[in-house]
């Protein structure tokens, strides 16, 4: 699908470059999977090692986490709608839906920051035990990825305004959408293996 | 040509055999075992060496023949000796895949059985209860606690011969590896964890032991001596120690834990009364007391002490 989009590009080499960008980004995502897998493994190994700090079951709040999950899943959907608009060639729809996507992402981040601050006040900081170190670094790495994603989308919004939909800008937007969906998948794993299990155990 | 080389090849086969005989007879610590654990490890080594020399001979001979015979500037090369497009032969490729698999299998089986045997006290002393010794590493010294006898030694230990020793390995701080080459292979001692290592000496004597895992500036000097002696002599030593050695106080122990090199010491009580570094509760005992002691280097120029090369010798 993306290739049709790119085949409309003005020059042959641009198409080829665009294809390579996408292949390269998929491989980058594979590396990201290895990165998050390592963080998940670390988290699993350190699970329960809370020392003197509160246990996750005491702190995790199902409400907030559900809202966060809802926000991020919806943002993945709106991101998909944005790409659909791009395929149709409507720049305005694309921009609108991308803005909705990052607003949802910002809301997600807001809750995550609130959550972190709240836990810290309850005595579970990154320094208090190895379990909490693993928690903050795993969830925090995801949060940093979301932040970077938001910044990236903003940059692309400006470029879309400046240049409209070209082979290059559409290629960039498609790649950022892959990234955004990937973050959603990672969050699903965090939601299940960190929050759900943390609340049950 | 072939006839000439044949006897020569036979002689070549004797070289590695001689080498193995030389290795098994020579005084290298690991190949000069003084107990059943080291003995079983040595037997496995020698067993594997036969395979290794077999592989080396095959490859070296094949390599030598190829390079000698197919070099470009060899006089009177024949044209049929050059086949630039020869690129495969299924049969021979299968053969040289299967043979290594057989060798790996032949090596795996005794490896696995030995591994499981090493987890238990040696068979030869199955009739006696193993002697329990807690070996605790602390930068850069060894504490040996005998809970049943209620004594503790630093940087040396006495063990009875013909009886399994059950070492409980742990560390007060950095990870160390407890190793007495002539009695058997090593295992790590780690803070907050306990490893069990069974060793046994059959021959009375003095054996060198050391920490084999690098753990900082004093690492080289983190050695100890093992006195293996018959049970009666060991009992006498225990009794003398119980009667004559001073008690170990917690204050003294805490100051001994500070990163440093110390002499051999003997006490008539053990530190296990207040801390066992092999448990989760004891894992940070030392580090919370001596966290700031690592800022200073010891400036160790050469290790003063018996055995090491130093200016005085």
């Amino acid at each position: 699908m993306s290739e049709n989009q790119l085949n409309a590009g003005p020059l042959e080499y641009r198409t080829h470059e665009g294809q390579m960008n996408i292949t390269g980004f998929w491989i980058f995502l594979a590396a990201e999977i290895a990165l998050f897998a390592t963080l998940f493994a670390t988290y699993a190994v350190l699970f329960g090692r809370t020392a003197d700090a509160p246990s996750p079951g005491e702190l995790f709040q199902p409400g907030i986490v559900l809202v966060m999950t809802f926000l991020l899943l919806t943002s993945s959907f709106t991101c998909g709608v944005a790409i659909h608009n791009m395929r149709e060639g409507t720049v305005k729809g694309l921009i609108t839906w991308l803005i909705i996507t990052i607003v949802l992402g910002l809301a997600f981040l807001g809750f995550e920051i609130y959550e972190f601050v709240h836990y810290s006040h309850e005595g579970a900081t990154m320094q208090s035990s190895s379990y909490w170190s693993a928690f903050y670094v795993l969830a925090g790495t995801h949060g940093v990825h979301v932040t970077l994603g938001i910044g990236w989308v903003i940059l692309l919004l400006i470029q879309l305004k400046q240049r409209g939909l070209t082979a290059v800008t559409s290629n960039k937007v498609f790649i950022v959408s892959l990234y955004w969906h990937f973050l959603d998948v990672i969050w699903i794993f965090i939601f299940t293996s960190v929050y759900l299990i943390g609340m049950v155990v | 040509m072939n006839q000439q080389r044949h006897p020569f090849k036979k002689w070549l086969a004797l070289v590695p055999l001689g080498f193995i005989v030389f290795l098994s007879g020579c005084e290298l610590a690991v190949l000069d075992p003084a107990g059943p654990v080291a003995q079983s490890q040595k037997d496995l080594m020698i067993y594997s060496l036969y395979f290794m020399f077999g592989i080396i001979i095959v490859v070296f001979v094949a390599f030598g023949v190829m390079v000698f015979k197919y070099r470009d500037n060899k006089p009177n090369r024949k044209d049929e000796d050059y086949k630039p497009n020869l690129h495969g032969n299924t049969l021979i490729e299968v053969v040289w895949t299967v043979i290594p698999i057989i060798i790996v299998t032949a090596l795996s089986i005794p490896t696995v059985t030995t591994l499981f045997e090493l987890e238990k006290p040696p068979e030869s002393s199955a009739d006696k209860e193993p002697l329990v010794v807690y070996a605790t590493s602390a930068d850069w010294k060894w504490f040996f606690s005998y809970p049943e006898q209620g004594i503790e030694t630093v940087n040396y230990l006495h063990i009875p011969t013909d009886r399994a020793i059950e070492f409980h390995l742990s560390s007060a701080d950095s990870m160390a590896s407890f190793w007495i080459p002539r009695l058997g292979g090593q295992k790590y001692g780690m803070a907050g964890m306990e490893n069990i290592l069974y060793l046994q000496a059959d021959v009375p004597g003095t054996y060198n032991g050391r920490n084999a895992n690098f753990n900082g500036e004093g690492f080289t000097a983190q050695t100890f001596e093992v006195q293996a002696q018959p049970q009666e002599q060991f009992d006498t030593w225990v009794q003398e120690t119980q009667e004559q050695a001073p008690e170990l106080t917690q204050d003294e122990y805490d100051s001994l834990l500070k990163p440093s090199l110390v002499e051999e010491m003997t006490f008539s009580s053990t530190h296990l009364q207040w801390v066992d570094h092999g448990t989760n509760a004891g894992r940070d005992y030392s580090i919370i007391r001596h966290r700031n002691a690592y800022d200073e280097t010891l400036h160790i120029e050469n290790v003063p002490g018996p055995g090491w090369i130093s200016e005085n010798e």
């Binding site: 080829h16 390579m20 292949t23 590396a31 990165l35 390592t38 670390t42 190994v45 350190l46 090692r49 020392a51 990154m126 320094q127 208090s128 035990s129 190895s130 909490w132 170190s133 910044g151 | 290298l28 690991v30 490890q41 496995l44 080594m45 594997s48 060496l49 592989i55 490859v59 094949a62 390599f63 197919y70 470009d72 500037n73 086949k83 630039p84 020869l86 032969n89 790996v104 490896t111 499981f116 987890e119 701080d173 950095s174 990870m175 190793w179 080459p181 058997g184 292979g185 090593q186 295992k187 780690m190 964890m193 490893n195 690098f214 080289t220 690592y294 800022d295 290790v303 090491w308 090369i309």
Partner: protein, 645 residues
């Protein structure tokens, strides 16, 4: 912070190092200024995105690092042969073996091979550059600045001293205070970014940019090994990234991953480190196998035996490399069952490796071996590596490993695989492809001197160490007992022979630069089989004027038989090339300072640096530089001049 805390003081050797650095730096600055070369340096090198030039910069940096790592090695050997001289104290010795290991693996072996890949892989597959030339430049500068950051540690702040494996808790903030360990963490992290990017870049290049007709199973074997190596990089380097990040957070921000307090788990570092570290040793050995395959086939003047088996064994080795990490710490007490499993997986690696050895031998069968210097390095690899390989199997047998672990037996084993494997391959590859890079061969006579001296020195140095290990000599001790003196002395003699051989090699480069005949043919050795030899020398910026159609494994051999070249005048088209850019250099320069500040835990400055890096990324995002075209006329001029038409 006081100035005397900032600079390392009190060590005469380090003062010597400072003086040497100051002198060399001022000499370089003077020469650049005097000959007005600053513009040239910036235009031709610092801003280049040409894979060939980047490759050359990789190799030059790697040679410099080989010198540094080698100097470390000679200092250690001097101390161990003559402990009475009090040449090094314990602390200094610890620092030196730490930097020796780190520099040799991360900043010598890998960049050297990546440099060769940079130059050769696009040429072998008929491509005009990497898939992402900008990223390629970024990768190089990330490695370069990472290496610089690591290397300044011995004069500024203090070198790391916890071993190249940096096991926790020893390497943690409590037991290794000060910036030394931070240099290790940040230096590796910075260069790791580049390695990961290179892995992705090479994968896309190989997947998407091959010449028409070159299917995956018609690729030259060096390209195959590069491709599989890139896979390993992509899946192994993120583990290192995480491990380094966690230890950095531990040390600087007080988290409890690998600490003894807060229920941290120091052994997890060893696991994470080797989950990256074992694949890492295959990252440096598989490309070496590829180089040997190319060189042996070329100078045996015969097609590589068992091409498919070669490829599949590389793939198998790569897969197994992720399943053996526990063999680095059988002695951790994981139990007989776990050790049995990892023992068997470890020994299984010997099977595909053995297949490769036999395939190389079979390639020699009924061949016409030409004993050039690269061929000598490759041939010497086979028997030497077999010794390293069989001792590797012995180490893999966990029950006996308890006796070999942490001894000179182990030290000897891994030098026996890494030197004949990686270092010989670096020399073989460099000498083999040297005429492609610089337009003239290296002198064969001097090259042979250097080769024989190095080979003999290597065996003299490391063979005795097997026996030292069996006699109970632990690795990383800084002084010895008298009974180990003889073997240590012999070993040190061997080390100095290798040092001398390296000096001769460097002299060979100089001598050949002055006196060697210039190449006019692209196929310098006359036996070239693969596409890199199809280009003229010097290689034009665009590599191939017309990209050839590939039908067989040895594409260039076929072209020679059919009388074809890569210059088909009728079918020339303008070639699109990327523009040079200074952004990679500047971006990594900024991140260098950010990392440096983080090493000293100056958080505000580090954050400013990090923001600078982000700003550079934003600037890059708005960069719509499309590159330029090389017109047909210019291609014709270049090719005719190069081919003497």
């Amino acid at each position: 912070m006081q100035l005397d805390e900032f600079f390392v003081t009190g060590e005469p050797l380090i003062y010597g190092g400072m003086v040497a650095i100051a002198l060399v730096t001022s000499a370089i600055l003077f020469i650049l200024t005097y000959f007005k070369k600053w513009g040239w340096l910036w235009r031709e090198w610092l801003t280049t995105v040409d894979h060939k030039k980047i490759g050359i910069m990789y190799i030059l940096s790697a040679l410099a690092m080989l010198f540094r790592g080698g100097a470390d090695a000679l200092m250690m050997r001097t101390q161990l042969a003559f402990p009475n001289m009090q040449f090094l104290n314990a602390q200094h010795y610890d620092e030196i073996f730490t930097t020796h290991g780190t520099v040799m693996i991360i900043f010598m072996a890998m960049p050297f091979l990546i440099g060769l890949m940079n130059i050769i892989v696009p040429l072998q597959i008929g491509a005009r550059d990497f898939a992402f030339p900008f990223v390629n430049a970024l990768s190089f500068w990330s490695f370069f600045f990472g290496a610089m950051l690591f290397n300044i540690s011995f004069v500024i702040g203090g070198a790391p001293d916890a071993g190249w494996t940096s096991y926790t808790p020893l390497a943690g903030a409590a037991m290794s205070p000060g910036p030394g360990q931070n240099f290790y963490l940040m230096g590796l992290q910075l260069s790791g970014i580049g390695t990961l990017a290179t892995g992705i870049n090479l994968m896309v290049t190989i997947l998407k940019m091959r010449a028409p007709g070159m299917t995956l199973f018609k690729m030259p074997i060096f390209t195959w090994s590069t491709f599989i190596t890139s896979f390993i990089i992509v899946f192994a380097f993120p583990i290192l990234t995480v491990a380094l990040a966690l230890m950095t957070i531990d040390r600087i921000f007080g988290s409890q991953f690998f600490t003894l307090t807060g229920e941290g788990m120091p052994m997890m570092w060893a696991n994470l480190f080797w989950m990256w570290g074992h694949p890492e040793v295959y990252i440096v050995i598989l490309p070496a196998f590829g180089i040997f395959s190319e060189v042996i086939a070329t100078f045996a003047r015969k097609r590589l035996f068992g091409y498919n088996a070669m490829v599949w064994s590389i793939i198998l080795i790569a897969g197994l490399s992720f399943l053996v990490w526990v063999h680095h710490f059988f002695t951790m007490g994981a139990g007989a069952f776990v050790n049995s499993v990892f023992s068997i997986t470890t020994m299984l690696i010997a099977v595909p490796t053995g297949v490769k050895i036999f395939n190389w031998l079979a390639t020699l069968y009924k061949s016409r071996i030409v004993l050039t210097v690269p061929m000598l390095w490759s041939l010497a690899f086979i028997p030497s590596f077999v010794i390293g390989g069989v001792t590797g199997v012995m180490l893999g047998m966990a029950a006996t490993d308890y006796q070999y672990h942490n001894t000179y037996f182990l030290v000897s084993h891994f030098h026996y695989v890494l030197i004949p494997g990686t270092v010989f391959a670096c020399f073989a590859g460099l000498v083999y492809w040297y005429p492609k890079m610089f337009g003239h061969k290296l002198n064969e006579r001097i090259g042979k001197w250097s080769f024989w001296l190095f080979l003999i020195g290597f065996h003299v140095c490391f063979f005795p160490q097997y026996f030292l290990g069996l006699d109970g000599m632990a690795r990383r001790i800084f002084t010895i007992t008298p009974e180990w003196f003889t073997l240590n002395f012999i070993s040190t003699m061997g080390a100095f022979m290798m040092g001398l051989a390296f000096a001769i090699f460097v002299y060979c480069i100089y001598y050949s630069y002055r006196y060697s005949e210039r190449e006019i043919s692209g196929d310098a050795w006359g036996y070239g089989r693969t596409l890199e030899w199809a280009t003229p020398t010097p290689i034009p910026a665009y590599n191939f004027a017309t990209v050839p159609q590939v039908n067989t494994h040895d594409a260039f051999l076929e072209m020679k038989e059919k009388g074809k070249t890569t210059f088909d005048e009728e079918n020339l088209e303008p070639i699109h090339m990327p523009n040079n850019t200074g952004k990679p250099f500047i971006m990594m320069g900024i991140l260098f300072f950010a990392s440096f500040f983080l090493v000293f835990e100056w958080i505000t400055l580090a954050v400013i640096g990090l923001i600078g890096g982000l700003v550079m990324m934003i600037i890059r995002s708005f960069d719509y530089d499309d590159g330029h075209h090389i017109e047909v006329d210019e291609i014709k001029r270049t090719e005719r001049a190069a081919r003497g038409l």
